[in-house]
Symmetry: C2
Subunit: 305 residues, 2 copies
């Protein structure tokens, strides 16, 4: 494989000039630049990531940390990140952290600290203070999609408002008996996504003096469906979901879409902006969401009320 001095020789310039011409950093006359580019192209020269990174301190890669790869939301956000990053010539290094604490430590204490990445994006990773601080010590921009974190630049959906929006939609249709199917929040932090959604639900129910009902379920198809079966009588009551899953459209499920792919793009852009010198914006950026009425919810009918 051709190295930088092959190119330098072929173009009749020094390696310094090749480096400048190819990276665009530092002055090079148009004529020389063209010669260098032509030579590099002819030789099929591609800069070595390791050498370039070691010498420059820039890795041209962004780390993405996810709790799951094979769940719709995460892979969709990841696709958005990938889109935005590839455009700018960055590679993506993937860190999947499972529930296993030992593995999690290895990712935070070892993998992420190998100086392989210029920035980090975390997706729905709930971190304690130690972990957040550790990310900070990486000395690179960190953008987190998920619960607000005062230590990091954060992109957050107002999950409480999401919970309210979904509930209000049903209330507006005349419903009063509304059941919340969601994570059993007794084990979650009060600031977790499920807890906040639930809180929005409760607030809205309280506001109209209706009694909130809960049916615990995990974030799986089986869990959700089992809970729905337990709750719902046979007469197909209105259902509203939260997320914008592609299948929601297919089922005609009314939902609060939160534009997963767009979240990824925004996170990537925020990370790139900080890399370009933009001020880090610790605290929260706000992510859009929107009620999408696809027909699974309708006005209450006399028979059921």
């Amino acid at each position: 494989m051709a190295g930088i001095d092959d190119v330098a020789r072929a173009a009749g310039v020094s390696t310094a000039t090749v480096s400048r011409a190819l990276s665009g950093r530092g002055p090079v006359s148009t004529a020389t630049r063209d010669r260098v580019l032509a030579a590099a192209d002819r030789l099929g020269y591609v800069v070595s990531a390791a050498a370039s990174s070691l010498a420059s301190g820039r890795a041209r890669a962004v780390g993405v940390v996810v709790p799951f790869l094979d769940r719709w939301f995460f892979s969709t956000v990841l696709a958005g990140i990938s889109d935005a990053l590839v455009r700018e010539g960055y590679d993506i290094t993937l860190y999947s952290v499972s529930a296993d604490p030992a593995e999690r430590r290895r990712v935070f204490d070892d993998h992420l600290r190998r100086r392989r990445i210029d920035a980090v994006i975390t997706i729905a990773i709930e971190m304690d203070a130690t972990e957040s601080a550790l990310l900070r010590t990486l000395g690179v921009p960190v953008v987190s999609i998920g619960g607000p974190n005062p230590l990091l630049t954060t992109l957050t959906v107002d999950d409480r408002a999401v919970g309210r929006l979904a509930t209000e939609h049903l209330i507006a249709l005349g419903h009063r008996r509304v059941t919340h199917i969601g994570a059993d929040t007794t084990t979650d932090a009060a600031s977790s996504v499920p807890a906040l959604r639930r809180r929005g639900f409760v607030e809205t129910m309280d506001a109209i003096g209706a009694a909130p009902v809960f049916e615990p379920a995990d974030f799986t198809i089986e869990g959700g469906s089992a809970a729905a079966t337990r709750t719902l009588s046979g007469d197909a009551p209105p259902i509203i979901g939260v997320d914008g899953h592609e299948l929601g459209r297919w089922f005609g499920l009314t939902t609060v879409d939160q534009f997963a792919r767009g979240q990824g793009e925004r996170a990537a852009e925020a990370a790139l902006a900080e890399l370009d010198g933009a001020d880090p914006a610790p605290g929260l950026g706000t992510l859009p969401f929107e009620l999408v009425d696809r027909g699974s919810t309708g006005p209450v009918d006399a028979a059921r009320r």
Copy 2:
């Protein structure tokens, strides 16, 4: 961030010894090793990927090339790869190549050639001879999940046999009028996954002298569902799918499962084996598949025959 000579100083040894103790390559007495490990731990030392990679030629990362991130099959295979790789301390670098030829070239000609990865795994990427050759010139193990490729180590599902298996299942139940819903293979290579499945279908139908019927559809929910709607009369005929999608279970869809996650694990293990010096096995390894009867198919009934 602590460097290797901080550790060397703290442990009272040379950097060479630190390197040896930490990497496990080369002899180190147990006593010194312990001292080094303790010092490294105390200082929170993590080797710089760039420096180590430059000096050793090993990057401790594997590249994974996928056509889509946000489709069930690919993210599931990816999860399998991730599992197997993280265990061994490897990072994953992700390359998503869309249909855009310019972007595809950039991935093959630039990103993949940055010497950032010790091995490449491709998932369902159909490559022409140029691209395959290019991967070969990387000088690293390449494992491809997908159509057999004589130039690369390949893990392949016998898609023709899958087509036959699914069709035979229906035939065995007494059905004779069977419609194939799948990609319009006039545009695909004869060796593509959809073409092979279809061929298996045709062969089986031919064998019993039944007329194969086709309904074109792309690999999307909408496409498949539209095709099914066009074909199927209202009386809920038997349906069989191919893939093992998690939702198949939920729908009670009989399917030919191909264990996506396991495919990823096997690919990762094959790549690691080659990295450990195992002979590359150009040509094909064979991937398992299995009929899973979940009830969406049943014997033909008199009324419909």
